[in-house]
């Protein structure tokens, strides 16, 4: 099975770390083929049950958590690969990368290069916002529809 075919464990772990760093209680990433939803249960009941074998969040705690997260709930948009190729973050090996985490991008702005059959294709962003994550390593092969970057569309410059 392809490790590139879908979100692998490493990618999901990275998303969980990302959610934790940003102190989000909920993170949903929608790619064409898969949606990953990470939800942190911050209610005290859930915490005490976490060590136990069977944890059932108390209904009132869940309702409380839902109320708290409305303000923080975010939905990040992926920039998906429009083709199959090799992913490069910079125009040349020693040149600076097109974008890095924290940068804001506009629609149409080049975010990476995909090389296929000796042709270098500049890939424009389809969304505007802040890059919150680069999901693919420089030089890795990517398939059609694979998420390359996560963008926070609410953080438009």
């Amino acid at each position: 099975m392809s490790e590139h075919g879908r979100f692998d464990l490493e990618e999901i772990r990275a998303l969980i770390r990302l959610a934790a760093e940003a102190e989000l209680t909920e993170l949903e990433v929608a790619a064409p083929h898969l949606t990953v939803r990470i939800k942190k249960d911050s209610g005290p009941a859930a915490e005490t049950h976490a060590a136990g074998a069977a944890s059932a969040p108390a209904p009132d705690a869940a309702a409380q958590a839902a109320g708290q997260t409305v303000a923080q709930e975010r939905r990040y948009a992926p920039i998906a690969s429009p083709m199959v190729g090799t992913f490069y973050r910079a125009p040349k090996p020693d040149a600076p990368v097109f974008v890095q985490e924290g940068d804001t991008v506009e629609v149409g702005q080049t975010v990476c290069i995909l090389e296929a059959m000796k042709l270098f294709n500049e890939i424009p962003s389809e969304v505007a916002g802040r890059i919150v994550r680069v999901l693919v390593e420089n030089g890795a092969p990517v398939e059609y529809g694979q998420p390359l970057f996560l963008v926070d569309p609410s953080a438009v410059a």
Partner: protein, 452 residues
């Protein structure tokens, strides 16, 4: 031998090729469209890469993305299966230019056999019989009458730009021909925007018999055996068998010889199939050559014990043919194509989720499929969901096993062609081996399949 083969196809044939690669110890790369993410070939391959959205032209026909996948994953060879890119000489050329082996014939052979009317001319020059007909197009009555002298009556008028039986009419005499010509011309004009016609000798009840050949590209071409594919509906094959019934040893030898000659004329290499129409006990006519593995290849495998897909891969890898010139055949094999179509409703495609799927088994039964319970048949591709192949020591045993197998086969959620096949297998004419390309039209009352 190759290290890694990319399978540029989907469905049961992709699964079939992965199996052959695995037995040869060759790594596999599946490509798939967004509609096939949950497909069996994706699950079975060592690696899988999405190459585009559901529409075939954007995924399974997307040459740039398929070649990019081959490149980034470092494959040695591409197996095209059947359909999609299998008979595209341009694709075979691109593979060659990219130094990736195309598991199939040389681009030039695909090209020569691809233009069907040019191929018939080529075969005629090589001394292989083709259906007598007008040379080129017929535009007026005088030309038509001159052509009719060559072919004799009855003959069939066809639209040069046509296909699928539209614009076709059968005429019995010269006066008939004069009368029919104008109508056929305007019909062709209306249907295809081109009134050009051609004439061909009319065959009343021909059989469709084809010959499997294998060539190693080093001067050895062998005929592996014939298949009778006369059970068709609207030119779509539904049931195939081997050996062909009621075929005299003499005519059989002539067919095998003609097939080998046809392959040699175009410098063929790898596996291919030469299709003929056979009329009566003496006449064979070259129709066309399919320059790829065919859907119905398993019946030949069952009686010869030759793995045709593995042979394709071995030949492409440059190995010499390890087969005898005279292939021995044992018993009889039949294949039924199980399509997700409703025979009670004019074979209407029936896509959607398969709720139950229990394929048959037991002695002499082989099932090639990519379907499983929980699989959803996407509406974007062909309707073939399984091939049931039955082998028996003789035709009667093969028929009995097929009937038994099809009754065992449980498919829930979609309509299939199983009831149609059971009806064919029960038909007295079929059981006597009296088949022709008109069999379904003449002998099967499809209205009976309409359940109350």
């Amino acid at each position: 031998m190759f290290n890694k083969v990319l399978i540029a196809n989907r469905g049961e044939i992709a699964v079939r090729i992965i199996r052959a690669c695995r037995e040869l110890g060759v790594g596999t790369v599946a490509v798939y469209s967004e509609a096939d993410r949950e497909s069996l070939h994706v699950r079975m391959a060592d690696e899988a890469f999405c190459v585009g959205p559901a529409a075939a032209r954007d995924s399974y026909l997307n040459i740039p993305n398929i070649m990019a996948t081959a490149e980034v994953l470092g494959v040695d060879a591409i197996h095209p299966g059947y359909g999609f890119l299998a008979e595209n000489p341009h694709f075979a050329e691109i593979c060659q230019d990219s130094q990736i082996t195309f598991i199939g014939p040389p681009a030039d052979a695909i090209y020569k056999m691809g233009d069907k009317s040019a191929a018939r001319q080529l075969m005629r020059h090589a001394g292989i019989p083709v259906i007598p007909g007008s040379v080129g197009q017929v535009r007026d009555e005088a030309a038509a009458l001159a052509a009719a002298k060559q072919t004799g009556f009855p003959l069939v008028i066809k639209a040069a730009a046509g296909g699928g039986g539209r614009g076709m009419r059968v005429v019995q005499s010269a006066s008939d021909l004069r009368r029919a010509l104008g109508a056929a011309q305007s019909e062709a004009e209306a249907a295809f925007g081109d009134g050009a016609l051609y004439l061909e000798k009319y065959l009343a009840s021909p059989k469709h018999i084809e010959v499997q050949i294998i060539a190693d590209g080093r001067g050895t071409t062998i005929a592996v055996g014939e298949r009778d594919c006369s059970i068709q509906r609207r030119h779509q094959k539904l049931l195939e068998e081997t050996p062909a019934v009621e075929l005299s040893p003499r005519l059989r030898r002539a067919l095998l010889r003609a097939a080998v000659r046809a392959a040699e004329v175009v410098g063929y290499a790898n596996a291919g199939t030469v299709e003929f129409l056979v009329e009566g006990t003496n006449h064979l006519y070259f129709m066309e050559m399919n320059t790829r593995i065919q859907v119905e290849h398993p019946v030949t495998e069952m009686v010869t014990n030759i793995d045709l897909v593995k042979e394709q891969i071995r030949i492409a890898a440059g190995e010499r043919l390890a087969l005898p010139r005279e292939v021995q055949s044992h018993g009889h094999a039949i294949e039924c194509r199980i399509n997700a179509e409703d025979p009670a409703r004019d074979f209407l495609p029936s896509s959607g989720p398969i709720t139950a799927f229990v394929p048959p088994g037991g002695p002499g039964i082989r099932v090639d499929t990519h379907a499983f319970a929980g699989y959803t048949i996407p509406p974007h591709y062909d309707s073939l969901i399984a091939k049931v192949i039955a082998w028996g020591r003789d035709r009667d045993e093969a028929i009995a096993r097929m009937r038994r197998g099809l009754r065992e086969f449980e498919i829930g959620g979609v309509r299939t062609t199983i009831p149609f096949h059971l009806k064919v297998l029960d038909n007295a004419f079929f059981r006597k081996g009296e088949v022709s390309v008109n069999f379904v039209q003449r002998r099967i009352d499809l209205a009976d399949l309409r359940s109350p």
